[in-house]
Amino acid sequence: MKTEISGTGSSATREGVEVRLEGLRRTYGAVVALDGFDLTMVPGELVALLGPSGCGKTTTLRLLAGLEDADDGRVIVGGTDITYLPASKRNMGMVFQAYSLFPHLTVAQNVAFGLRLRGVERTERHRRALEMLELVGLSSFAARYAHQLSGGQQQRVALARALAIRPRVLLLDEPLSALDARVRSQLRDEIRRIQLDVGITTLFVTHDQEEALAIADRVGVMREGRLEQLGSPTDVYSRPAASFVAEFVGLSNRLEGNVSGGRVWVRGLSLPLVDASIPDGRVVALVRPEAVTLAAHTAGETGSLVGSVIATTFLGATSRITVDLGDVTILAQLGTAEAAAHPAGSRVSLAIRDDPVLVAEGSPGAAGDGPAAVADRA
């Protein structure tokens, strides 16, 4: 479920600062974790870094936090170059993936810890800790210990602890990955709500594209140390700039086709290309399920876009239909009411919308043997 919350409007209580990452580079021996990374974050916005493991998103976050040294590049926060500032002086709040609460302290003491380090006196810091716990909805848990809390509650305490020091930037390192699905979606929306409330510039790292699309102002898709695309969730989803992005974000049908004269011929249909300069030849075209439409098929009609429905997946307002075309399987996504008209086993004929398509990487003709694979990066 995608809740598009816009956070880039101006707000009187906006506290955020601008964050600029310029040319960041980090290598571990021979492995290049981050290769010339640039990003400018608008005050108060939430940028999600999305990508498979090893793509460099966590490295970026840790460089911003100061928990690692950059080999090259600059980190500029609120106009000040802090590249060489130690982590303990950067005044950023960080939420780790798991296990970061101090087990020997109560929840309130955990939240107040940063204040204690800053010399805030006991009653005052306790008061502020309770204030933070109120913000995350856990004020009644103040006297508990970490091991008495569920995973979701622990992460909320971690968030309260990070925010208690009134940081300039909020960093979240896959905070929801260790939680189970139901808690994940609840907590995700709550994090976004709090972030908007406080107006703090936030960097959110995740490998879950649904998460990133749901809460971010802008999404940065990363691969192998580089930023592949940076844009609003809609842009990244509907107008992927690279096939990697198209395949990582959302579902894609992979269909073999032929490029000729700036258009690609897929199963008898001619579709425009995003990149018209692709040379003629065999390719694998990436078609979104939403671009595929269904019509009931009258007996006798044949063609390369005629097939039978194998299964229907109910997703709420929309449904996803799997159609067997004989040599490949295609996914189509329709409104549920419409999808009900084509139950399993019925014959249908497909059409593909005339949207520009991307072409998969790799040598033309070599991608996908046999039935086309559907790329799904949930």
Binding site: A65, G66, L67, P86, A87, S88, K89, R90, N91, M92, G93, M94, F96, A98, Y99, S100, F102, P103, H104, F113, G114, R116, L117, R118, H147, R161, A162, I165
Partner: protein
């Protein structure tokens, strides 16, 4: 609706199940009963009775000045070696823990510690004789070595430190990187971390391990026996004197009273250890 077989009545079914399961544990309990609980019981009973009924007169031997001296020497020697061994062992644990988990260093230190912790007594005494003994003086000959408690304490530390490594290393390994990074992120320095977080978390484990070292030193007998130099007696020697003074084996009441005294001492120490362990296992595992 399918026909469901009526269940046997609750209590009889459970009893049947329980008794069959329990028989599986009989060999173990019988064995432990014979070779562990019975001897302990014999000692305790022998110390507090005179064969017919409760009689604490045997325990009077614990007030005897020689015996008191022996207990005092034991406690003195064991506390020193426990504390020194614990501190050295903790430092060593940190050095080992921060290395490669599968590396040569860790394997060697763990295997070596496993051996040295078990092999306390006789072989160790020989090694020190070779290194420092009067007729060999292989390394050097230091007369202070023979004054109690220095020489023997050094040998004790020799197997206390490996034991500390074995016991304390898991606790150090249980420290999570996230705690260190969270402390830094919240504005803390290295000192802040050790003072407010790391030190506090490791303290129960450290104290518990120190106690374990103390109990271990208390029980050490072989080492002293084999280190033939004159040292004032400690409790284990008193006990062995008591047992073997007659021809053959005998458990005199004195021996039992002394052993009982040791049990009490160790029991106190080990109870404290178990209580501390609970904290440790909750925080660091």
């Amino acid at each position: 609706m399918a026909h469901v077989e009526p269940r046997p009545s609750g209590s009889s079914r459970r009893a049947w199940w329980t008794s069959a399961s329990w028989t599986g544990t009989v060999p173990f309990f019988a064995y432990v009963g014979l070779f562990l609980l019975l001897p302990t019981g014999i000692v305790v009973w022998g110390a507090i009775s005179n064969g017919h009924g409760l009689d604490l007169s045997n325990l009077k031997i614990l007030a005897d000045p020689t015996v008191r001296m022996a207990f005092w020497h034991s406690i003195e020697l064991c506390s020193i070696t426990a504390v020194v061994g614990a501190v050295c062992g903790a430092i060593l644990s940190y050095a080992v823990a921060t290395g490669n988990p599968n590396g040569f260093i860790r394997r060697t230190y763990l295997a070596g510690s496993g051996v040295l912790a078990q092999f306390g007594g006789v072989t160790l005494a020989f090694a020190f004789t070779a290194a420092i003994g009067p007729t060999s003086g292989f390394l050097f000959h230091a007369s202070w070595f023979y004054s109690f408690p220095f020489g023997i304490a050094l040998i004790y530390i020799y197997f206390q430190v490996p034991l500390m490594l074995l016991v304390f290393l898991p606790a150090v390994l249980g420290m999570r990187d996230e705690w260190r990074e969270a402390t830094e992120n919240l504005g803390g320095s290295t000192w802040d971390f050790w003072h407010l977080v790391g030190g506090r978390l490791l303290l129960p484990a450290f104290l518990g391990a120190t106690l374990l070292l103390f109990a271990n030193a208390l029980s050490a007998y072989a080492t002293i026996q084999a280190w033939e130099n004159q040292i004032p007696y400690v409790v284990p020697q008193e006990i062995s004197k008591s047992i073997t003074s007659e021809v053959g084996l005998a458990s005199t009441n004195e021996a039992q009273a002394l052993a009982f005294g040791m049990i009490l001492l160790v029991a106190v120490v080990m109870t404290a250890y178990v209580l501390l362990q609970r904290r440790t296992s909750r925080w660091l595992h």
